[in-house]
Every structure is written in C-alpha cells, then in structure tokens.
Amino acid sequence: MGPRMAKVVEVNGPLVTIELADVRTGEQVRIGRLELMGEVIARHGEHALVQMYEPTESLRPGEPVEALGHPLSVELGPGLLGGIFDGVQRPLLEHAKQHGDFIPRGVHIPPLDRGKLWCFEPNPEFRIGMQIEDGAVLGTVQETPTIAHRILVPPGMGGELVELVSACDITVEAAVARVKQADGVIAELSLFHRWPVRSPRPYRSRDDAVAPLLTGQRILDTFFPLVKGGRAAVPGPFGAGKTIVQQQIARWADADIVIYVGCGERGNELVDILESFPKLTDPNTGRSLMERTLLVANTSNMPVVAREASIYVGVTLAEYYRDQGYDVVMVADSTSRWAEALREVAGRLGQMPVEEGYPAYLASRLAAFYERAGRVQTLAGGNGSITLIGAVSPPGGDFSEPVTSHTKEIVQTFWALSKELADARHYPAVDWVESFSGYVASCSGWWAEHVDPRWAEQRAAALEILAQAEELARIVNLVGPEALSPQQRWALQGVALFREGVLQQSALDPVDSYCSPQKQFALLDQMLSIYEHGLRLLEFGVPVQELLRLPLLAEAQRLKGSYSNDQLDELRSFAARVDGEFERLHSEYAQHAKAEP
C-alpha cells in the first residue's frame, strides 16, 4: 500500500480522529501541515483514531493526513551502538546538531546516519547460487572495536544468492547482496533493514539459560542471581535507588550489548550515562563502555504515546543483536511509566478501567513484553540472549498496586527496594526478605565450577542468619538486647557483618563499585567464618561482650572498600589473622578455665 491522503476530523489532546477508509490499525500516519507522526489505534466506519507521537497543539480540523502504509518500524543496521534515540528511534544527537537544544515538531531524520561509511566483509562460506536462509549471516561490519556487527538476511528474504560483494567505504544503503526469492523476484539487500517493533523477531528455538548474568553487585549476584536470558524487576518507592541499581547493571553486567531505555524518567539520568560511560571501561574487554551501549530516551516531559512505543523500540533493537548471536541486556526504567502511558490512552478512548484506572489488558501486555526475553538458538544457528530488567515505580511504594503485582507474577528475579534501607543510606537498598530469585539452582553450577563448590551452602547459611535476625530485631525492640541469649546477640552482630561487610556496596567508591565473583565469595566466606568462630567460642564460655569488643569486626566490615578485586591475597591473609585472633582468645580462656576449675 502506498501513501494515501485524508483529512483531520477532530483533535483531542494526543488523540486525533481522521477520515480515512482502508487504513489498518498500527499503520503510521503523518498529520497536518507540520507532518506530525502518529499511529492508527482503532477504526470506526470511515474514521480512524490516531495516537500521536508529538504534541498536537495548533493542529486544526481539515488539515491533510498521509497514511504511510507500514506499522511503526525501526531501522536495524550498523551505527546504532553508542547512539541515543527517542521513543520512535529518532537520533537525538543528530537532532541536537541540526535543530538545537529543544525538540521541534515534525522533524524527520533517519535513525541510521546515511553519510557514515562502513567496511563490509562477506561471509567466506557463501557461494553464488547457494540457497541462503532467513537470518543467515551475510557478512560482518566492524561496528565498534569490540562489536562485529553481523549483517543478517532479513526474515522473509531468504532465497538463492545471486550476488555478494566485498566493499569498503559504503553507506548503510548500499546493496551488498542480491537474492532470488521463491517467486523469482531478485531482492537487493543492504546493510540495514526495517522491522515492525510490535512483532517479535523469529528465532529457531528456545534454549535453557546456563550462565548467570554477573553484575558485580554482591546482593544481586550472590543472593538473588539473574541468568543471561532471564527476566527481572526492580520495584521501589522514589529515592530507594532504582536508577542507581539499573545504571550499575548497565555499567558492569557481563553482556555484549546493553540497551538502556529511559522510559518516562529524568533527562539528567540519561545525560549522566552519556557523559560518564565513554570514560568508564568495561571490566571484561577493557574498552569504553559506550561502545557496547545504546540509549533509548523518552524522558518524562516528552510525548506520552512515544513513551509507550519506546519499550518496543528498545526490545526490537535487543532482538536484532540477539539474532547476531550476542548476549544483550535491556534495562527499562521505568515500566510503570509505560503502563501509565497505556492508561492515559485507554482513558482518552473511554475504555473501562479495571484497577486504579488501568485498562484490563495491562497484565497481558506486560506478560507479552517480558516474554521477549530469553536465550535462543538464532536462525543463523548460534546462541543469543536477551535479559530484561524492568524498574517498577509503585505509587506510594505500595507493592500491591497493579503494575508491581502483575510484574511480580511474570519475572523470575525480584529485587525489591526498601525505603527503610535507603533512608539509612544502605545501598543497594535491596530488601533481602522481600526479594527472590528463581535462578539459584541454575546458577549454582556455574559458581561451583568457576568460584567455589561451597557457594550454594554458604549463600543459604548467610540468608538463614539474616532471616533469623528479623525475628531477633523485633524482640530487641520490645524488651531490649539484655533479654537475648549470648548466641542471639552474636547473631545480631553477624547480621551487622553481612549488612555492612557484604550487602552494602557503594556505587561511588571506585574500589567497591564492581566486585568480582571471587571477591564476592571471599567476603561472604569471611563473614561466615567470623560468625562461626564466635559461636564456637560462646559455647566454650567466652562472654559475648568480649567478642563484641574485637576490633577486627569493624575491620572486616571495611574489607570491601580496602582491597580491590585483584587483592584476594590480602583478603586471605586477613582471614588468617582472624583465625589467629580467635585461636588466641580460645587458648586464653582455656588457661583461664584451668586456673579456676
């Protein structure tokens, strides 16, 4: 279907009614003299209802409308990484260059830079006349020094290879291959293609997740792990540190590609990433973090309908890199703002609200979105994964509200942030009672093989002490610490060791910001060892006050920031000192006991 013309009938905020038959829901339209972009969401007789990606101020009835004949699509090709795009994939850096500091309306700049030149290396295994499949790797373009961008045969375009060239200094539009399709038509393939964002990209099959997604954050990796291809949510009231958790993951996750979707959040947070990531290095490759990062930004003051689209734009870009065989992490901050955009449009359509004004399809939309995560076997035959991590912003911090409760049913890892912890500046404020992870069993194999076979049991032991402490803290609040047995008072001290020494982690401290799995385990093991040593001495009759006075307790809590990931030897020698110190106390009391039988 080519472009067709029509006219505006009614303007109601971001919703515009147009008179146009034969248009499909989902189709893109350009409206008015300003050529504002929108998407058809409903048909009613000769009329179509359009939700607009841009503000509709000054639009009037009777203005012209052009239907573009395709749904909302993204351009997929080299030149995406390191970029920042808005909710409908307009390139914001280029926008600023051409149109200044504020975003004007009706400006159409192609997402991929048409002037940039690339070097295309064809797949050496391909011969002319061969039958090539959908999703096969035609060749590669070195997109950034670390990422080889694999140019794929767009799904639905496979056939007999007629021509495949090797070419340098070509633009994304240049044809690099010609393929004869089943109907005999010869199609030209360039370095990029388009894909509709609301249709998941095809893959061969789903695979089981096998490896943890390591983020360098102790409470996440050690206590509530996530896997590559998993789904996670970070709910929390304002000020609990959702954004810092998301940014830490974007910084340190051991993924190939990170897609950060700022959906209805603050502009300054994206600037923070844009300014800081180029200066940070990826701990796995040693290269600038920006080379593997792509930002999709629809900040809270940008039009609400494009916010709804931004999540799908982000996940489609993620699928494209997954199909090239990469492990992709997509963080969406925040899915609540996306749900609110749904609610806003539903409200204007007069749809019946069910919970807190949200439409009835909220749960199914959320589930369908998270279902696009997973580890798959790609059409090209390799493995790729998408890990989805969504922030949730529950109103008033109430986790029973619709978006949080539906999300909780969908995700496997739930990092609940707590206001109380954040108020005491205990970051990351992940609540160890409310949070859960369904991936502990799948991760324990990796930890046992790469770090320590005792990982699963030590993790469980630490969580048990933490859980016990909840109960003890309640007792203390009722009757004071004197009512506790020495063992119980020591358990409270054990909790302090875990809280300060392991769980609390400073994103701002260069030593502590990223913690290697080896150091994570060493710290966990150290705190457990101190706790167990203490328990033994208590049984032996050493008064608990004596133990609580030990200066090595404060020292142990500072270990995380004192020694870097490379100083595991120093951590070990501290462990030896701890053993020595407890040994000394033990023999002191042994002599004491002999002297006074």
Partner: protein, 465 residues
C-alpha cells in the same frame, strides 16, 4: 488576529464552554469570551472538531448564559512577551502585569508550553551551591540545574526555608549573575507579601520576576501560571545567560486545579480522583529545570509541595518525588521541638549530590561523612525508640553515645538560626565534631584515614576515668 466573534455556545459548565459549529479552530488556541455584561474572560481550546469546540475558561463559567456569550478566537497560542525588563515585575498567571505598571512590549514572544529539551543537549549538573544550611549542604547538597522540592505540611515553615535559601544560595568563591523567578499558585495574600518583603529586605527585588495567583483568584489560571513562569526562566537562563532559581509554591494547589478541570472534562480518574496524566503533566513542568551544554545559564528549581495530612504517599508528593532529583522533607516533630529548619533527615535526599561534592567541589571526605551521618542517625533513632521502651539506664554504653549523638545532631547540626550562614567547611567540621561523640568502631562508612584526620574520640567514660 481574527475580529470575528461567534455566539454559538451550546453549553457552559464547570469552567468549560462548548461551542457548536465553529470550523477550523486550532487546538491550544487562545480565546476571549465576552459575557452579557461585557466582561472579558480568557480561555483556551482543549478539543476541536468542526462540530464541537471545547473551551476551558480560565476565570470560570459562573454567571454566563449561552445567548449573550460572544467568543473570539485569537488564532494564537498562549504566549508571553519577554525582554530583560521582566526582572522586577509582577505578573498574573497568564503573564499580564499586576503591579500597576504598563504591559511589557517586546517583539519576542514565546509559547508558554515551551518544547522539551533534547536529552542529548543537556549538560549534567555538577556545581555545588552553598545554601549556608548544614542539613542541606552537608547531607543533601543542592547543585546548579537541579530540581529539589520541599515537602511540607500545613503550618510548617517551608516559606521561611525557601526564602532563606533564596537569600543565601551562592557558589563558593564566585559572584555571579543570578535571577529569581517566583511562581505563586493559590497562596494567601500574607504569604505573597512575606516573599515580597523578604526579597525587598535582602535587596534582590530587582532580580526577581513574580507570577502571582492568590487563593481567591481563578483556579484554572494556575494551570498556565507555572508554564508562563518557566518560559520566563528559560529566557533568563538560556537567552540572557543568568543563573535562575525558580521557587514555585504551592504545587499542591496546581494539582488540585488540574483535578478540577479533569473532573469537569470527564477524564478517567486514577488515584484520589487525580487524572492518570498527572505524572506527565507535572513532568512537563519539573523537567524544564536543568543546564544545556554550551550555555552558561541554568535553571535550578525549588517547588514547594504541601503534603495533604502530612502523607508522603499522597499522589502529589509521590509523583513529584519520582520526577525531581530528591526532596527536602520537613518534620512536624522537629518543628514542635522548636528546631529550625525542621528538616526530616532520613527521607530527605539529593540525587545529584554525588557529582557536586568531593575533592574538586567541597572536601574529599564529604560523601563518606554524609553517608556516616545518615547511617549513625538511623541507628540513633532505633536506639531512641528502644530507650523509650526499656529506659535509657538499661542501654549499653555505646547505645547511650548514640542517644547523645541524636540529640546533639538535631539541635546543633540540623538546627540553626534563620540568619545563620555556615560555609561548607564549617558544616563538615561540625559533622566530625558530632561524630566524635561516637566510638571509632561504630563508624564503618568512613575510612581509617578519615578517622585519623578528623575524628576526636575521647574514649568511653570508663576509659576517661
């Protein structure tokens, strides 16, 4: 500008005027409504088709009939005139003067709705502003281009606090060009006068542009007012290169006006009757704060939000907190103890603090000291809770130290006089003086080097004896 007047009103209710059969009217158009008595009211088109045009009348639809109501469409959006002369002036919600001086004439007019800043064009705020208040500078530092609201409750001194910050805010070691834009929505006459006198007394009145809508004036005008004020602020900051501090009081009145109009339009309510788009609407206002790369000026925003029944989870403070870069929360308990400013430390937060402090901005130990004070005060509040149950006598020695710390911290660090200005070094030294009431092993957020340098622990009482 069209001279044509239409007499086609078909309904008038709840501040909305319905017009039948006026063709080709643009959304957002400004209109003038003339009623039977000849009185003119301002309005704006909020929905348009050739059959029906919906007009929001800023002064309300009381005392309107349909037969003698004439509507003129101005064919222009809401705009305000801008020139350097806006400094020192007082305007109403739609930018008309209310200081008995002639209207401003300028070729430069801007749409009050502005356009969103391209996130890629923003510069990250990282310049520390010294307010002279220890609880702000030391623990919740303000930086240039930040939006930091004051969450307050009825009867709490948020106005005095905002006024003190306006008087004292400066960049250490720099005398710079600054301006204040003051946006007052639905405030009482006495509050408006208080700010005016404060600005006059401190000699900044020449640098202040005020937008004023009093409690007894049309509520719908409050929907335009912050947008007009921010359009002025953007002009001062990004055209005239000034550092602009925008004080907006009270955002709760703004949100209530929004709810009033939304209800009249029949919008689906989300929480407490507020429309689902309250978040986006507030964000359009708050996100206009910031810095732009390559431009010397800045907009720092300090909105006042009064929390209905002191409830921080009420939609207005809640959504505000999700948009702004932190919040300063006032405490009724501290206020009742006579502590000024009664800043409730645990829920207060400045998100941009991390990049505005430290070696190059304030002092290298700043971040750690702030973290330690927060952690120690949290523990101290637990101890205080415990003491109220089991009595202070049964506390351990360390716990008693924490109790002393909490009292001293509230009285000496948080509390200060309304005319007292402490520089950042004084604030940090005071923080260490208070931390010296606690034994070193209780301080795990600071490093050993910090303890050596700043901590003056005199030992437990037993050790001293």
């Amino acid at each position: 500008m069209s001279e044509k007047e239409y007499r086609l009103a078909s309904a008038a209710r709840n501040g909305l005027l319905y017009m039948r059969g006026v063709p080709d009217i643009a959304l957002g158009d400004r209109v003038v409504v003339r009623d039977h008595s000849g009185r003119r009211r301002n309005g704006q088109v909020i929905r348009t088709s050739n059959e029906l045009v919906l007009i929001q009348v800023l002064e309300g639809t009381d005392n309107l009939d349909l037969e003698n109501t004439w509507v003129r469409f101005l064919d222009q959006p809401f705009e305000i005139a801008l020139s350097p002369d806006i400094l020192g002036r007082v305007f109403n919600g739609i930018g008309q003067p209310r200081d008995e001086r002639p209207p401003l004439f300028s070729k430069l007019k801007r749409n009050v709705n502005g356009a969103p800043v391209n996130p890629a064009a923003r510069a990250y705020p990282r310049e520390f502003i010294q307010t002279g208040l220890s609880a702000v500078d030391g623990l919740n530092s303000l930086v240039r281009g930040q939006k930091l609201p004051i969450f307050s409750g009825s009867g709490l001194p948020h106005n005095r606090l905002a006024a003190q910050i306006v008087r004292q805010a400066r960049l250490p070691g720099e005398e710079s060009q600054f301006a204040v834009v003051f946006a007052a929505m639905g405030v009482s006459y006495s509050d408006a006068r208080f700010f005016r006198e404060t600005f006059a007394d401190s000699g900044v009145l020449r640098n202040v542009t005020m937008f004023l809508n009093l409690a007894n004036e049309p509520a719908i005008e409050r929907l335009i007012l912050p947008r007009a004020a921010l359009t002025a602020a953007e002009y001062l900051a990004f055209d005239l290169d000034l550092h602009v501090l925008v004080v907006m009081t009270d955002m709760t009145h703004y949100a209530e006006a929004l709810r009033e109009v939304a209800t009249a339009k029949g919008d689906v309510p989300a929480r407490k009757g507020y429309p689902g788009y309250l978040y986006s609407d507030l964000a359009e206002i708050y996100e206009r704060a910031g810095r732009i790369r390559g431009k010397p000026g800045s907009i720092t925003m300090m909105p006042v939000v009064s929390m209905p029944s002191d409830d921080i989870t009420h939609p207005i403070p809640d959504l505000t907190g999700y948009i702004t870069e932190g919040q300063l929360v006032l405490s009724r308990t501290l206020n009742n103890l006579g502590i000024y400013p009664p800043l409730d430390i645990p829920p207060s937060l400045s998100r941009l603090m991390k990049d505005g402090i430290g070696k190059d901005h304030t002092r290298e130990d700043h971040a750690r000291v702030a973290g330690q004070i927060y952690a120690s005060y949290a523990r101290a509040l637990e101890v205080r809770n415990l003491a109220s149950i089991i009595g202070a006598e049964d506390l351990s020695e360390t716990d008693r130290n924490f109790l002393d710390f909490a009292d001293a911290f509230e009285r000496r660090f948080v509390g200060q006089r309304e005319d007292e200005e402490r520089n950042i070094v004084e604030t940090l030294n005071l923080a260490w003086e208070l931390l010296s009431l606690l034994p070193p092993e209780a301080l795990t957020r600071v490093g050993a080097a910090d303890l050596d340098k700043y901590h003056r622990w005199h030992g437990t009482q037993a050790e001293q004896q």
